[in-house]
């Protein structure tokens, strides 16, 4: 195995080559070599030093632009402070509401500074002033364009065990989860994933990505994957892909790209929204990574069928399983293999056994996600912490050098999540010939379009809507085509008509999270099951929703 490197060492080595990133939009293309980016980063590092930030200070990055984000992340790291990435505002979400949420994260994370754009800064300064009393120390708001002092010479050599990055992945408010990763974590995962038993990155590889850099797949998988291998990668703004999915495949065509990842929904969007494939040439694409949300066999088959005339090979699909708490990937499918699909009995699966379905039996098609990365371990655990045999469904647990240091400033949550070195993912799966099949997950996360949302955050927002009984809101994901459906169940306090309440909830969730609620159940008092300590029972509520036994409440 390649020896581990710090982010600084990897960047220094990449800067000694001619490689770099293209920052590409529909109307422009800007090439920035790693050497040039490093110079900009060192200028930003000096500015942070001049502003008085020290080793270990948390600096939050709120930057929608890819180049600014990468320069700020690397520059913060060179300065000795710790970069923390937060999801930038979605274009459709009102900036004031976004900023309100962000202030809550800044407060609980005790960030010392925020690096952002002039536009966001204006809102942020106002919101921070209004919340002054809630802070012991308010973070300093810095505008990225102003951080251009004379470059420093790199004068710090962090150790592999130092924290390299904190990722606030779920962008949560009620309990922000900052995934804390060390330099060793990053390097171990990137090298194993890119190595010969992973996707085997070599000197001819070229990446294309439109994934947000606040997401582990975009930042670690694509941008850092290219940087650590000193290979070029084209980075497109995420909204350009969503607006016109063909932009992604046109970029692969243009750059003769070999490596590009995306969640399932992106492949689905391409099937649904791209008309003409004549000008596409996808024959260079050897690693079409897929992960971050449940992978549907139907989506992969439809994509392969539609784009094979454009040179796409089904063997390019590389389904993966991973999560930010494990840097990026935990398992990766073998290269040059068509997706491995298993049809398992739906009945047996619901009882915890993955038996192959017989003819005519109701079945579920699951996509194999490959074996665990070299140097890493994976096990399936059932009731009473028993390690299960193949084909038995249980919780996926991971151990090895990619397991995060912990959640930022959340020792209790960290201790609950990592026990004796094993990361409890909350996801359910089974092994077949050592290959992982993911078939469900703990009920407290909703994944929509590859973005993870904590149920308790959604519930926190919903509970603030007038007309909802305090503490009586449940949010969960139900399976749907392409992506998950977001379902909200609330008890009403009787002051607001159900239809009005449902609309207010939709608007609240749309404003705060940029998410559409697919179904809202407005029920009477006492409908939602609770534990003896008064907490809502999400799993029970979800089962009752799915079996239609919530009674006859108003549904919108």
């Amino acid at each position: 195995m390649t020896s581990l490197r710090t982010l600084h060492q990897a960047f220094d080595q990449a800067a000694a080559t001619a490689s770099g990133y293209w920052f590409t939009t529909h109307e422009s293309e800007r090439w920035r070599s790693y050497a040039a980016l490093r110079d900009s980063s060192l200028q930003l590092a000096r500015s942070l030093r001049d502003a008085g930030f020290h080793r270990g200070d948390l600096v939050a990055l709120l930057l929608p632009d890819a180049e600014q984000f990468l320069v700020a992340l690397l520059g913060t790291s060179y300065s000795g402070a710790t970069p923390a990435s937060l999801a930038p505002p979605a274009t459709t979400v009102g900036l004031p509401r976004y900023v309100e949420r962000t202030v809550a994260i800044l407060r609980s994370s005790e960030a010392r500074a925020v690096v952002t754009t002039r536009r966001i800064a204006a809102e942020l300064v106002t919101a921070l002033a209004a919340a002054r009393s809630a802070f012991a120390h308010q973070p300093m708001v810095l505008i990225v364009d102003d951080l251009d002092a004379t470059a420093i010479e790199p004068d710090l050599a962090p150790s592999l065990d130092d924290v390299a990055l904190v990722q606030f992945t779920s962008g949560s408010t009620a309990s922000p989860k900052g995934v804390t990763l060390t330099h060793a974590n990053l390097s171990a995962n990137i090298e194993a994933f890119g190595g010969p038993q992973g996707i085997a990155i070599s000197g001819g590889d070229i990446g294309v990505s439109w994934l947000p850099l606040s997401h582990d797949m975009g930042l670690v998988g694509m941008a850092f994957g290219a940087l650590y291998a000193a290979r070029p990668c084209a980075l497109l703004p995420p909204q350009e892909f969503v607006k016109r999915p063909a932009a992604w495949l046109r970029a692969i065509t243009r750059y003769r790209a070999t490596v590009s990842f995306a969640p399932n929904f992106a492949y689905e969007l391409c099937v649904r929204r791209i008309g003409d494939t004549a000008e596409l040439d996808l024959s260079s694409w050897r690693v079409a990574g897929c992960g971050a949300e449940p992978i549907h066999a139907d989506t992969l088959a439809a994509f392969a069928e539609k784009f094979s005339p454009a040179g796409f090979r089904e063997t390019a699909f590389v389904p993966c399983y991973g999560l930010a708490e494990h840097v990026l990937a935990a398992t990766v499918s073998p290269r040059e293999r068509c997706p491995r699909i298993e049809r398992v009995s739906a009945g047996a699966l619901s009882e915890g056994t993955a038996r192959r379905a017989g003819d005519g039996e109701p079945s579920v098609a699951l996509v194999g996600c490959g074996r665990s990365l070299p140097g890493h371990r994976l096990r399936i655990v059932g009731e009473a912490a028993r390690v299960l045999d193949e084909r038995m469904v249980g919780e996926i647990q991971l151990a090895g050098p990619s397991v995060m240091r912990g959640y930022h400033h959340e020792p209790a949550l960290t201790a609950e999540t990592i026990r004796d070195g094993w990361l409890r993912t909350g996801d359910l799966g089974f092994l077949s010939d050592d290959e992982l099949f993911v078939c469900g997950r703990a009920k407290d996360v909703v994944i929509v379009h590859g973005r993870k949302f904590q149920s308790e955050d959604l519930e926190w927002a919903v509970e603030h809507v007038r007309g909802v009984r305090p503490g009586r809101a449940v949010a969960f994901g139900a399976s749907g085509e392409g992506s998950e459906r977001l379902v909200v169940v609330v008890e009403r306090d009787g002051t607001v008509a159900p239809a009005v309440l449902a609309e207010a909830i939709r608007r609240e969730v749309a404003d705060v999270f940029g998410l559409a609620v697919d179904d809202i159940v407005v029920a009477d008092s006492g409908t939602i099951d609770r534990t003896t300590s008064g907490k809502v029972q999400r799993g029970v509520t979800r089962s009752r929703y799915e079996t239609g036994s919530l009674g006859h409440p108003f549904s919108a």
Binding site: T92, V93, V242, K243, F265, E503, R506, R507, A510, V517
Partner: protein, 88 residues
């Protein structure tokens, strides 16, 4: 003045919204894209792309969140079609 009238634009916007909406509701001018028609952030951008193609306009990115109802979208498209700068 040349170009489509406001009625044509509204009809075009409703057609585009209908095409993208997954909810079985006939879009009306007063409908909110998100609250009433179930649009998520992806579908809002899909609508922008559809409107840009249909009306040969470019919707500035920072103006996308401003329009929430079908009527607001229509007014916005009409301004862009007329080539006027949007009034505050």
């Amino acid at each position: 003045m040349a170009g489509p009238g406001i009625a044509d634009i509204e009809a075009g916007v409703i057609e585009a919204v209908t095409k993208i909406s997954r909810r079985p509701v006939a879009p009306a001018p007063e409908h909110d894209l998100v609250a009433d028609l179930g649009f998520d952030s992806l579908e809002v951008l899909e609508l922008v792309a559809e409107l840009e193609d249909r009306f040969a306009i470019t919707v500035p990115e920072d103006q996308i969140p401003a329009a929430r109802t079908v009527a607001q979208v229509t007014a916005h498209v009409a301004q862009l079609v007329a080539g006027r700068t949007p009034r505050a």
